[in-house]
């Protein structure tokens, strides 16, 4: 399973990835493979605040519904409308076109507290 080297992770498989002054949220390749075909995503609208470790949305696959947890705190500045219309983008390109929301971090140092790619790899059984 691919692990984006530029991202950092929660054990619950969400990632945050720096994009200029913002952070992009998504779910890992491991997570999308485990979920199977994604059929629905519910995301917060622009301007909403998200809190590290708290639920910021929902992702539903053919198999099941899962909560999405925010890797870091901040304010939503952009929502991926393409993934809302075509949730299969999460399966096709979870680190690219299948991103979920873009957030202006309220405490950028939170990023350092996330699992780095190597540590996340270990939690999913990959070295």
């Amino acid at each position: 399973m691919a692990i984006d080297k530029n991202a950092r992770y929660l054990e619950s498989h969400e990632y945050a990835k720096p994009s200029g002054e913002y952070m992009v949220f998504g779910i890992s390749d491991h997570a999308q493979a485990e979920l199977g075909d994604v059929v629905f995503v519910e995301l917060p609208s622009v301007g909403k605040t998200v809190t590290k470790g708290a639920i910021f949305g929902t992702i539903e696959s053919v198999k099941a519904a899962s909560d999405l947890y925010a890797p870091i705190s901040g304010t939503v500045v952009e929502v991926n409308e393409a993934v809302k219309n075509d949730p299969s983008l999460v399966n096709k390109d979870c680190y690219g076109t299948g991103w979920l929301v873009k957030v202006a971090p309220s405490n950028p140092s939170e990023f350092q507290s996330l699992l780095d790619p190597a540590a996340y790899g270990k939690t999913i059984g990959e070295e």
């Binding site: 199977g36 075909d37 059929v39 629905f40 519910e42 539903e60 053919v62």
Partner: protein, 372 residues
């Protein structure tokens, strides 16, 4: 679809093939079955709607009923009219208990010298016991499930594929009829039936030839340029759901009667059958819930979710629900109070604690090929 949680005790002859081809396996009806291949459940659904899907459905059960009293026995046991069935005809039917509860749904094939009954995997033992317990001394009920393999070949190009690989064309066999064919030297009883809403058929043949026939059909599909892929149970479920076909344990069960579930058409009230008196009583008294389709505009409805009236009271519960890949909608089947059952009625579904707008819709969501 809810997969059974207990450990599977059985595997089909194609189990190793599924695993080696990357299938995600899970227990279903006591069998370790492919849920989807690396293709993915949604693409597998769409392949079956546009070309040909192959389904390993060996977990299904087959009984053969013989003897001088067989015609009368079958007619009494199943709800559908069978007295007019002559070879090579087959018909969908229900199996009821005395209270009108649905023990199972099944397909009844009229063979030249016997009746061939195809039942659901999860009910095989129950059905067999039920038939045997009711069989008079001049009727024999034989479980043929273990020596019979069953593969479904479904999709708009399924008949074209089979016509090219079988010794006799299957296109001359009418819908809901059967014929004997030979494919790659293997004798096959071909029924022009299915559980996807597409044309195609179900193949019954000796169990030891499962791998040979499965690989032959895939290879022939490739050579002939007819897209042919293995399809897992997740897509089988979404295909049947869109086409309005019931899955036992969901739209039908021992606690649901055919009137509630919309299967009065499958019951022949001109004859005697087990459960008929109960059904007549139910019809006279009226029903308190009815099976409907519900479209949800945002979110995925699933089994167990509550349906709520515009006034806010709970009026029923979903028995199945999912994203429908062909029509690209989120939909459920639910039993609700009959006064809300008219298509176009606005309702809500509680999805993970939130009320979601929904509307009662006409079933089926996708009109099956045989009704077009």
């Amino acid at each position: 679809m809810i997969y059974m949680e207990e450990e599977p005790t059985n595997t089909t002859a194609l189990h190793d093939w599924h695993v080696s081809h990357g299938a995600k396996m899970a227990p279903f009806a006591g069998y370790d079955m492919p849920i989807n291949y690396t293709t993915g459940a949604i693409e597998e659904h769409l392949i079956t709607r546009r070309s040909v899907g192959l389904f390993d459905i060996d977990h299904m059960g087959q009984f053969e009923i013989t003897g001088p009293g067989a015609d009368e026995f079958v007619a009494r046991m199943v709800t559908a009219k069978v007295s007019d069935l002559v070879p090579p005809m087959a018909r969908y039917s229900l199996l009821l208990d005395e209270k009108g509860g649905i023990i199972d749904d099944l397909f009844v094939y009229r063979l030249p010298a016997s009746w061939w009954i195809v039942v659901n995997a999860s009910n095989r033992a129950t059905d067999l016991a039920w038939f045997k317990a009711h069989a008079p001394s001049n009727v024999e009920v034989t479980d043929r499930s273990d020596d019979t393999y069953m593969i479904a070949v479904q999709g708009p190009r399924a008949i074209e594929l089979l016509d090219k690989v079988a010794n006799n064309p299957v296109s001359t066999i009418q819908r809901f009829c059967w014929g004997n064919i030979v494919i790659d030297g293997i004798p096959v009883l071909f029924g022009r039936t299915g559980y996807t809403g597409e044309d195609g058929g179900e193949l019954f043949f000796p169990a030891e030839q499962a791998l040979q026939l499965w690989e032959f059909l895939l290879r022939q599909g490739e050579w002939l340029g007819i897209e042919t892929r293995p399809i897992g149970l997740a897509a089988r479920d979404s295909l049947r759901f869109e086409a309005g076909m019931p899955l036992h344990g969901h739209e039908i069960s021992i606690d649901i009667n055919p009137i509630e579930a919309g299967f009065k058409w499958a019951c022949d009230f001109e004859k005697e059958f087990v459960g008929k008196e109960a059904l007549l009583d139910i019809i006279e008294k009226g029903i308190s819930r009815k099976l409907v389709g519900i479209e949800v505009f945002s979110g995925v409805p699933r089994e167990g979710y509550e349906v709520v009236s515009p006034e806010g009271s709970v009026i029923g519960r979903c028995v199945a629900g999912m994203f429908c890949p062909t029509i690209k909608k989120y939909a459920a089947n639910a039993f609700i109070e009959p006064s809300f059952a008219k298509a176009g009625t606005n309702v809500s579904v509680i999805i993970r604690g939130q009320l979601r707008d929904a509307v009662v819709v006409k079933r089926p969501l996708y009109v099956p090929a045989y009704r077009r």
